[in-house]
Symmetry: C2
Subunit: 107 residues, 2 copies
DNA sequence: GGTCTGTTTTACTATTTTACCAATAAGGCA
DNA sequence: TGCCTTATTGGTAAAATAGTAAAACAGACC
């Protein structure tokens, strides 16, 4: 593994890592509905606005979302559509695990 | 966001998080070539075997890989093919950033 | 049983991430 | 200008993660 290869993996891992938090994933899914302001995102995910803002900056840094100002509001939108394709795929795996958990709980 | 929704996002984020480490991503890409033993993986990624073992357990826990014993060796293989599709997609984004970095270095 | 090989687990330290709260922008409007 | 709304940044404590080395484990083979 040469330096270029290491850097490639590091950048790539950064994208996955950015998506690897429930709140950030929730934001990404919400943004599928279209451009949203921070205030709408806060309302949807239900946590401190400062917390949301920081998570948004993580997503922005890796290029998953981008923002623009609209008056007082900052509008965020997705810039990596393929992220959603994969998210859908993972969904299948996750649903299985959720069902398994429910079976255990019911039993 | 109800409890089920939260749990769904948590599990889903776990998959991304597992892929969000350069070493683990390197392992995943290596396993595209087919089933490999821990010793081969160690040689490929170039770090302590105990470290590789721990990363493998993370990947296994989330269902990205699975293992089987073959004599003394533990063989690992991918179980989430779609992970690769997304990885390829992210690749495009990453390559752009890498190129940008190189431009800066050259300039 | 004893020993070798291949792998996992444990114990430890250093670093990173996270959530919360307070403080600080930055734009709109009286 | 002053004040309101919206969002970001800084600080801090708690929790999670990563890497290393040593110990433990599991199967193969004598």
């Amino acid at each position: 593994m040469n330096p270029y290869e290491n850097e490639r993996l590091r950048l790539k891992a950064e994208v996955f890592k950015a998506m690897g938090h429930p709140l950030r994933l929730g934001i990404i899914e919400f943004l599928q509905l279209g451009e949203k302001c921070v205030c709408e995102i806060v309302e949807h995910v239900g946590t401190e606005i400062s917390n949301v803002s920081k998570h948004l900056s993580v997503l922005k840094k890796t290029g998953i979302v981008t923002d623009r100002r609209d008056g007082l509001k900052m509008m965020y939108r997705l810039t990596m559509p393929c992220a959603l394709d994969f998210a859908r795929c993972v969904e299948g795996v996750v649903i299985k695990r959720l069902d398994a958990q429910r079976s255990v709980m019911v039993a």
